[in-house]
Symmetry: C3
Subunit: 260 residues, 3 copies
């Protein structure tokens, strides 16, 4: 029985989460259901994409991910199921899928599976749960609807890479106030190589000129840059609780100046 | 093995939640435990009832629901287990059960099962977990205590229905600031029929004169009324993040004026 | 298959929680994973210790507890796995283990298991999940590393006990604003015996001179003292939602004056 994960912007107070789990368990009493996050900001598909990108690869191949963020169907945002990197993803094609996946998915299917009720405000319970269980039972993705050629594309904000400068943005800030930039380890290493560099945080005026391996490589309360396990450049404070130094916001510019 | 659900006002920081799950797993290492919500406002059995009403029917028949809100036993609020609509519910008979269930339960049993410790501040761990496992093992409900004829009744605030006007109240506000009224789809359809109507939100001065099928049937940021999948009339904003328009509170009056 | 529990200071928004569960399920698709709490204040090992102390004994013997609070490895804080009271605990030896366990553990092993990635910011996913699964498969703890003789010791704040006075501190405040003191039931009973006593809350000026069995033994909104199921003296308000009376903070002094 494959794992079914749930990611949403429901929060954890209302009945939505329980209702969807109940709907899955009603079809498969032995389903293994895992919450990825239900605290995505309402309708924030960029934040959702970051969380899912960084969580889904840890799951076993064949895992089915229900994406319940901005999931009401419309002509522009059809309900789809996608097979990519050995995983299945179910949701509304709002651009979220394109933000999660770097490459073209193996298969994209516009759902033809009817939902169970005449209400159209709760597709995760009334349609996605059903589709997830159909996939879990081994139904081929092709039987769930009509194959379509491409996803709705929402472009991620890419870092601008020049020979002497990488200009990136703050992409995500976690609960510790660690800051993830849209500068990949790969791009950084290729562009900077062995040259000296300075990472400049415009808003705060701070700068960092070395990359460490772990938070603990700088004294407590000090700022450091490192390549996080998510593959992105990360700015963090070693064990600082207040995080007062790191007053950065989503989309703030961070530059890497290369050379002396 | 039936599913066991947990609903409480514990929040998710303290040890209570883990301790109850541990107590269940100590008896049944294969138990399937599902959280419905632990963010009910402290002692708020009306809020709890709304959440449970809207979540439990999605679960398979035979599911056992532990209700740990205001659950300390007293002479007025005995610990009971209830069988209704094919589900089991365990908790203190504070009125919560009557708010969850529309009809008389099939069976009501005052628990005689002794709890496991001499402490009386944590019945969910020390008594309800044990009772849930006894039910899960197939023990008949009658063996858990003495059958009693009726529940402690807490009356829900009912909408007042007249020929030319339905006067309802705000019953629940979800994390999106969607507002659920205590006006059922059934009552609305029966009373309003095909006549024109105006839904008046007293506090805000707003009014709505049409029912839509989905949030997306109105432009973004606009208010709409629809029948939610919970069976109640719902007032919502289509994808509005600020929800500034919808400054309603629990118990606020909302009227449906029928006719021109 | 033993239960694996997770306790952390990650919160529930970010991808960390999902990633660790995925890593466990990738090794053991049938693993039973239970969240104890992810809302520990960042790096607060005293708070974490209280939560874990009060939750772990409810779990079955053989349960494996991943402790992901302040878990980056350093020379002073090696990654260890501990066997104590029939349970396994995995984490960084920051003093947390000594705060959880009253007695010397049966075994302490400094991990030699290599982690799966070259990143050193996410040991729960890259090392602890792997170690938990190795234990779950039945690998003996001795094979996971080198046995070491003792834990890093962080002393809990102990109550000062004199013949005529116990001076304790606020150790934990739960979401209801119930206050747990570092005065054990055992010490209280031994020292106070049948003598009259007054519990004095310095900050608020309140005092209590009786111990009750349950919150409901005092009128609604009134303060009471009782021995909680955690084994500590607890000060609580019966069903008070505002908790305005109980304006206590962690580490505040509370005295028990013994005799008239």
């Amino acid at each position: 029985m494959p794992v079914i994960t749930l990611t949403s912007d429901w929060g954890i107070t209302d009945h939505y989460l329980g209702a969807v789990k109940g709907a899955i368990l009603s079809r498969h009493p032995n389903a293994v259901i895992v919450d990825i996050s239900h605290k995505v900001d309402h309708y924030d598909i960029r934040q959702a994409a970051f969380i899912i990108r960084n969580a889904f690869p840890s799951f076993p191949e064949g895992t089915i991910h229900i994406l319940a963020i901005d999931s009401i169907e419309s002509d522009e945002h059809p309900h789809i199921v996608v097979k990519a990197k050995g995983h299945y993803f179910i949701g509304a094609d709002s651009g979220l899928f394109s933000l999660i996946l770097d490459e073209e998915p193996e298969k994209i299917v516009a759902l033809r599976v009817l939902q169970d009720t005449g209400y159209f405000t709760f597709p995760a319970r009334d349609r996605f749960a059903k589709v997830a269980c159909m996939l879990a039972e081994g139904n081929p993705i092709e039987e769930l609807g009509e194959q379509i050629p491409s996803l709705v594309v929402k472009l991620p904000l890419l870092a601008s890479i020049k020979e002497d400068k990488i200009e990136g943005r703050v992409m995500y800030i976690d609960s510790y106030k660690n800051v993830y930039l849209n500068i990949t380890e790969k791009d950084f290493r290729k562009t900077v190589g062995n040259k000296p560099f300075t990472i400049q945080l415009k808003r705060t005026g701070d700068s960092i000129d070395t990359i460490v391996k772990a938070y603990g490589d700088v004294p407590e309360g000090e700022m450091c840059a490192l390549f996080s396990s998510s593959g992105y450049l990360e700015i963090a404070l070693n064990r600082d609780k207040a995080s007062s130094l790191l007053n950065l916001h989503i989309d703030d510019t961070v530059s890497v100046i290369i050379g002396e």
